[in-house]
Symmetry: C2
Subunit: 379 residues, 2 copies
């Protein structure tokens, strides 16, 4: 079942005399911000957060090698960054086992989503995605004037059959899928993802958001000549470089060449390129982060059960904890916010009955357990 | 006299079966890169540059306070940057004497040009600019499908009367002007710029690129309620943070709110925000950079005259040196390139008879003098 919604960009723009002559798309966009930042919450409250467990940041920091490389790169910050990101792209291409021409850098997956949407979408073009999926993809589609065809989560996972059916019906240029998924934490096997990709019609590209792939058991691979897949990766999660804004896409060379015609060539800054490059070399750090993340997810699941919540399976660095209802999840979210705990919750059914909690180090986990128990026992 | 050129986006896109279904605008864009980077030149040559005097980078480095702040910020790189850039915007607003709602951050002026163009331009909308002006503005207009109305430089400066006349005729949403100007180095007084702004028709916004304003004798100011001006500033030049990608725009609050609906909210990274904030506090460093820049420009002018070139007046951190002809300028550019000296030259008449040379420290100036003399004496 598909739920077709018009994009906000197709509302009639009201543009009175003397008001700025915005473009048709921007003039009709709603005033929304994809996420309210923890810094904004702190400014509103007038005090610091006690726990920052809402943005799926790594609590384990950047690699020490990356910190050192970034400090050095800052010293030559007067020089422009390499707009081709040659060294970093070369290392990524090696690790991914693809030619350099397949690798495109971006200032995080947000930037790459905007870049890909602008590369393909004309106003009115439909895209297929899950209802309640990653909102920044929707933000990027809105900015192009694209429209949405959405299908709800089933069993707290993306509904691959539903997405595939909508793709067959609407033949969109892009189908968006996050695997592992945010906000559910769910994951499909490589075989399932490859089968899904082959279920899509010709001319439809699977835009596969692998932001959390470092935490997955395994990830799908596709042939070098497969022109139907774009994969997105980030250094924001396991690599602990969220604040540096580095991500990359692996895409067909013809698409990469098209992005080169309108991308922000200097968008990934000098310090970010140096940090990401060093981080790729620090396999020990990455392995330690993965191990600590697994441990913290076990602890979060225990904490959830202890207070009567149901932890959903997670292949990411966060755990969705289900309550009986949306109302109850909101009460818990608000109770935690009053105690200066920053977490988030999905906004759309069926996942809106959950709170979403990022992994943390042990002292923070203990404090979280204490405060969550306080909230739940007081309801 | 206006030279009206159709944008590349209006060429007919050829989109054979099975090729990617790009958007109409991107499908028709030419494959061009605004600038070839010095890193690319080094990779092509297989060796390092001897002198990097082509990108108008500061040879005096970032402020030591900024370097320290950036090193510290890198340590918490696992946390997302503040998408509102609150601290940095607050300090900028103070220094500019405007409310916070007027200040928009971007990853350099390139990013802000794209943001402003996307905020206003629909496909086919005309913009007015100088023929041979800053190419990245043109790159941003192309990405929106906008079209150009251009007027040539007169007396090696932007032709304010010509630009104004075209604006009256075409009533564009945007008129672009760089002051001080790149690539000429020329400058108009605040009174001249304010008069120019008031010569524009209602509904036309002056997009005033002040990338080099830190080097100007004085800069124009506009009323807080003036909805006809957007000013762009950068930390890439006098502040020596080109590789960090930070700039800002001062614009009417209604326009700022519109950019918030489609901008890349996390685009200015954590280290960049920290570096720019610290740099604003280091007035001594900025003053020293300005003084050293003035000295180096005097030296560059001397060097130019010594080899028979004519230095154009400069209110920037570079000097345009005029030869008799485009051909001669190209011979000199190529001769310097063979000696591993990276400079650039304007591509469009009348400035195409010039080479453009960025200021440098004394040892580099001496080497440049030596190599330029070698080239010119060998012609």
């Amino acid at each position: 079942m598909g739920i077709k919604t018009q994009s906000a960009a197709h509302l009639k723009a009201t543009n009175p005399v003397n008001s700025p002559r915005f473009s048709q798309i921007v003039g009709a966009l709603p005033e929304v911000v994809p996420f309210v930042a923890p810094e904004t919450l702190e400014r509103r409250a007038g005090r610091r957060l006690a726990l920052r467990m809402g943005a799926n940041e790594s609590p384990y920091g950047p690699s020490p090698l990356a910190i050192e490389a970034m400090g050095l790169a800052a010293r030559t910050g007067n020089l422009y960054n390499d707009p081709e990101g040659f060294e970093l792209r070369t290392k990524i291409a090696e690790q991914e086992g693809v030619p350099l021409s397949h690798v495109v850098l971006g200032a995080g997956i947000d930037d790459l989503l905007m870049l890909v949407c602008r590369t393909f979408l004309d106003p009115g073009d439909p895209v297929v995605t899950s209802l309640g999926g990653y909102p920044t993809f929707n933000y990027a589609v809105d900015a192009t004037g694209g429209t949405f065809v959405k299908t709800p989560y089933v069993d707290d996972r993306n509904d691959l059959g539903g997405l595939s059916g909508l793709a067959q019906k609407y033949r969109p240029k892009l189908v968006y899928l996050a695997n592992p998924d945010n906000p559910s934490g769910s994951w499909y096997t490589p075989a399932e993802i490859v089968a899904f990709r082959h279920s899509l019609p010709q001319g439809t590209i699977l835009l596969l958001d692998e932001a959390y792939a470092d935490f997955a058991l395994a990830n799908p691979t596709f042939g070098l000549d497969d022109t139907g897949v774009i994969r997105l990766r980030t250094f924001s999660k396991a690599h602990g470089l969220a604040g540096l804004r580095v991500g990359y896409a692996v895409m067909p060379p013809a698409v990469a060449a098209a992005t080169d015609k309108h991308r922000l060539h200097f968008g990934v800054n000098r310090v970010a390129q140096a940090g990401a490059l060093a981080s790729l070399d620090d396999v020990d750090h990455l392995d330690a982060v993965k191990a600590q993340t697994e441990y913290a997810k076990v602890r979060l699941a225990e904490i959830a059960r202890k207070v009567g919540l149901e932890p959903l399976p997670s292949s990411t660095n966060f755990v969705c904890m289900a309550t009986e209802s949306r109302q109850r999840a909101e009460v818990i979210l608000n109770g935690l916010a009053l105690r200066d705990v920053f977490i988030r919750k999905p906004g759309v059914a069926p996942l809106d009955r959950c709170i979403r909690v990022t992994v943390a180090r042990e002292p923070e986990l203990e404090l979280f357990e204490c405060l969550l128990l306080d909230v739940v026992s007081g309801i």
